[in-house]
């Protein structure tokens, strides 16, 4: 028999509404409120052994206490799956559901299902950490939420891995995995093109990707006093590639000390899989223009040429990996009191 723990807020558990939002975490044996409807759906396939509840303020303002107390119960009961909510559009409730399911998954590997209304902030915050079922905005849509939440909980509690979001009906978690369709891309592309031309419905297989826009910082007040560093994704590394920098699909960056007035030809090589690198191998300054930077320093146009280059290979890299590299480089350069970077790319 699949063992389930159900989490609700003070309202769902029948204590009262906003006036009880500060109440601490507690629990019942067996189902309560929406849990009774879940248990009805389960029949003898699963049993709600405990119901945990807490006030919404308590769950959010004393989040660590709330989570620790909840985890103690989960540790003792050892459920196969968790249910939370449905929270509908109640923001604090949704965040409490998500944080609890996230922690339980991290600590015990127990999967969980939550119900979120379309505007619940819990979706953006926790969709990756649990299976969210989209419900109506308010509690009057409770009945419609029961079957999809309970159905998915049965699957997870039984050790099954649910199929894709659009088949199973949960909120997409931003995880894209390979599935075998049995139809080549040529067939599917042609079918999609013909459907669109005929004015029929079609569904893109990759929804639009929207990227972050980075606001540029304020301009330098005085370039002649500024320290400028060179950062490049062009893959220039010391000869022999001492840090085993990767050519493609890379995961790291390194700072390399520079001296003299240029990058000495022959002292560097290029680890980059995306461009013709011979010219840079012959003259590494053309990727990392330290010669020009030193000239500007001598002319007093810039304050100081930072005597290091930060190097990485951007060839076939993951965007989020590159974002991490950028953040790490930013922290590093701040520590070195660098005011601006010259970023060269391929």
């Amino acid at each position: 028999m699949i063992k389930v723990i159900h989490y609700m807020n003070q309202f769902g558990a029948g204590f009262g509404s906003e006036d009880k939002a500060d109440m601490a975490l507690g629990s019942f044996d067996g189902p309560k409120g929406a849990g009774i409807a879940f248990q009805g759906f389960f029949g003898d396939r699963a049993v709600i052994v405990k119901t945990i509840y807490a006030g919404d303020n308590y769950a959010n303002e004393f989040k660590e206490d709330f989570l620790n107390e909840a985890m103690e119960i989960i540790r003792a009961v050892k459920p196969d799956v968790l249910l939370a909510g449905p929270a509908f559009n109640s923001g604090r409730y949704g965040l409490a559901c998500g944080s609890l399911l996230k922690r339980a998954k991290e600590e015990f590997g127990v999967p969980g299902v939550a119900g979120f209304g379309p505007d619940n902030p819990g979706i953006a915050e926790y969709k990756k950490d649990c299976y969210g079922i989209l419900t109506g905005a308010a509690a009057n849509s409770m009945r419609q939420a029961i079957a999809p939440m309970a159905g998915l909980a049965l699957k997870l509690g039984g050790g099954e891995t649910p199929g894709p979001a659009r088949q199973e009906g949960y909120i997409p978690r931003g995880i894209r995995l390979n599935v075998y369709t049995g139809k080549s891309s040529a067939v599917r592309a042609t079918e999609m093109a013909l459907a669109r031309v005929a004015g029929q419905k079609w569904e893109t297989e990759l929804p639009r990707v929207v990227y972050d826009k980075v606001a540029p910082p304020a301009p330098l007040a005085d370039l002649s006093k500024a320290t400028i560093a060179l950062v490049s994704e062009g893959g220039v590394v010391p000869l022999g590639n001492p840090d085993h920098m990767e050519t493609n699909n890379s995961t790291k960056w390194r700072p390399y000390a520079l001296s003299g007035d240029e990058l000495t030809p022959g002292a560097f090589e290029v680890r980059h899989g995306g461009y013709l690198t011979q010219d840079v191998t012959k003259c590494p300054d053309r990727m990392v223009p330290y010669d020009a930077l030193r000239t500007l320093e001598k002319q007093g146009i810039i304050g100081k040429a930072h005597p290091e280059m930060l190097s990485a290979s951007g060839s076939m890299a993951n965007l989020s990996t590159m974002q991490r590299l950028g953040r790490e480089m930013g922290i590093y350069l701040k520590q070195k009191a660098v005011d601006a970077v010259l970023l060269t790319a391929t």
């Binding site: 979001a165 390979n178 599935v179 893109t204 990759l206 050519t247 493609n248 899989g273 690198t277 060839s315």
Partner: protein, 481 residues
């Protein structure tokens, strides 16, 4: 779709025997002369009309004499060795045959081709490499269906591990069975592997050219067995508007050509530099008008895949029934800056409009930088009122929870996912390895470590021959979880 008033084909082999000195003159005829001699009427001269004769092969055997009997293809090993070793840049060649389903892994692959030959004398397959670049895609072509000739090198004499960027040999293997089989090209054909040893200290230019010419010559020679035989199957291909009530669909074939070692040839001419998108009849692909010299094995489209381009075959399958397949535009990616990328995309859209396309299906060879050209093309097509359906390979990291693409046009509203290239799979060990004793990859998962290709390993699409394209062709996609 039948061809009227055809002059009976003269076997090329007989012609060669009878007039060895004239062969060059025939191939040397410039294209309008070829057309004047062509038996078709003027209307049909303009639209390509190709009869593809398929000879099905179910077994391949080495023998003292070439032949084709009841589906068994006999290879004259000595003759093929002589042909390959006539180029003194190659010092040794032996054959190995691999069948689908075997526990076999093929490594150190340079390219793959399907043996094809044109029995009439006007043009030859792989134009520009064999004879002058006479226009192909019309007349008749014989193919040995179900086979591929695969060039491998005992030691890949390309710069490798020396920090040479895009001009680096990227290993990409073929698994003839197991979970890798549906993730690489030429894993469901009978593979005739030319295992070659090259002279030491060759320049990369010489190595590349010798490898390609050996493969082309062998493909051509093997296909000669079809010349005096009846095919098992004949298909006539002809693009154009068959039924004006059907939508017109074009195919946009974006290839990768960034320079020597990472290059695609169009009628034997490299496509990088000032290349501007152009119209190519899809049947010209069947005859080897596009040849791959791209040793970035994981993301390439090998020559076999251009000869058997799945997009072209699919559009022909629906041609005259659900759509009119009106033609193909070939373009390339990796233009130098945003302006030239937009320019290229606009040229594609303009040519697709000239083809009177209502919709276009697009495929991409290359990645990253080339994806920007690809999206610029989608944007230009959609803004010209042409429905664009691009097929993309996705990034996203091993867990699939990172960004799937680096560039995305908001006009790309109908995208086909070709699967995530960095999701991992476990490959079993293989009993037999063809092509070399050790392999080495250049990406981060197993950076630069050499290992025995018999052993099991954790793979991503970067490990396979035509890995990115093969996920798509075999029917993989990403689904949101």
């Amino acid at each position: 779709m039948t061809t009227p008033g055809r002059r009976p084909p003269t076997p090329l082999r007989l012609l060669r025997a009878a007039h060895p000195d004239k062969l060059h003159a025939w191939h040397g005829s410039c294209s309008h002369l070829t057309y004047l001699e062509h038996p078709l009427n003027k209307e049909e001269m303009i639209v390509m009309n190709l009869t593809m004769a398929s000879y099905h092969v179910i077994r391949v055997e080495e023998a003292g004499k070439a032949g084709l009997e009841k589906g068994v293809l006999y290879l004259n090993t000595k003759d093929l060795q002589g042909l390959v070793l006539s180029d003194d840049r190659i010092t040794d060649m032996h054959l190995e045959i691999a069948y689908p389903g075997e526990e076999t892994r093929i490594v150190h692959i340079l390219d793959a081709m399907e043996p094809r030959i044109k029995p009439e004398q006007q043009a030859r397959c792989f134009p520009g490499f064999l004879g002058l670049p006479t226009t192909v895609g019309a007349g008749r072509t014989n193919r040995l269906a179900g086979t591929a000739v695969i060039a491998t090198a005992a030691t890949v004499l390309l710069p490798s591990g020396q920090g040479t960027g895009v001009q680096e040999f990227n290993e990409g293997v073929i698994d003839m069975s197991g979970p890798g089989q549906s993730r690489c090209a030429c894993s469901d054909t009978i593979n005739i592997c030319l295992c070659m040893t090259f002279r030491e200290n060759l320049s990369t230019l010489d190595f590349d050219e010798a490898a390609r010419m050996a493969l082309i010559k062998v493909s051509d020679r093997i296909a000669e067995v079809t010349l005096d035989r009846q095919p098992d199957e004949e298909t006539v291909y002809k693009t154009g508007v068959i039924d004006p009530d059907l939508p017109n669909v074009a195919y946009i074939n974006q290839v990768q050509s960034q320079g020597h070692i990472c290059r695609t040839f169009l009628y034997a001419m490299p496509m990088e530099g000032f290349f501007t998108p152009t119209i190519l009849d899809p049947t010209e692909l069947f005859d080897g008008a596009v040849v791959s010299g791209n040793y970035r094995n994981h993301l390439r489209t090998c020559t076999w895949l251009q000869q058997n381009n799945p997009y072209v075959l699919e559009l022909f399958r629906r041609h005259g029934k659900e759509c009119n397949f009106v033609g193909q535009v070939v373009s390339r990616g990796h233009y130098d800056d945003l302006g030239t990328k937009i320019r290229s995309g606009n040229f594609v859209a303009k040519l697709a409009a000239h083809l009177k396309a209502h919709a276009a299906v697009l495929s991409l060879e290359g990645t990253g930088n080339s994806n920007v050209d690809y999206m610029a093309t989608v944007k230009a097509l959609e803004n010209s009122g042409i429905v664009a359906v691009p097929v993309v390979h996705e990034f996203g990291g091993p867990g699939g929870d990172e960004e799937p693409l680096f560039d995305f046009a908001e006009e790309a509203v109908s995208v086909v996912s070709g699967g995530g290239i960095d999701r991992r799979i476990e490959l079993p060990p293989m009993k037999r390895v063809i092509g070399g004793d050790s392999i080495r990859f250049t990406n981060s998962t197993s950076y630069n470590k050499s290992f025995d290709p018999h052993q099991p390993y954790t793979a991503i699409a970067h490990f396979f021959f035509c890995g990115f394209r093969s996920l798509q062709n075999h029917g993989w996609r990403c689904e949101e979880y």
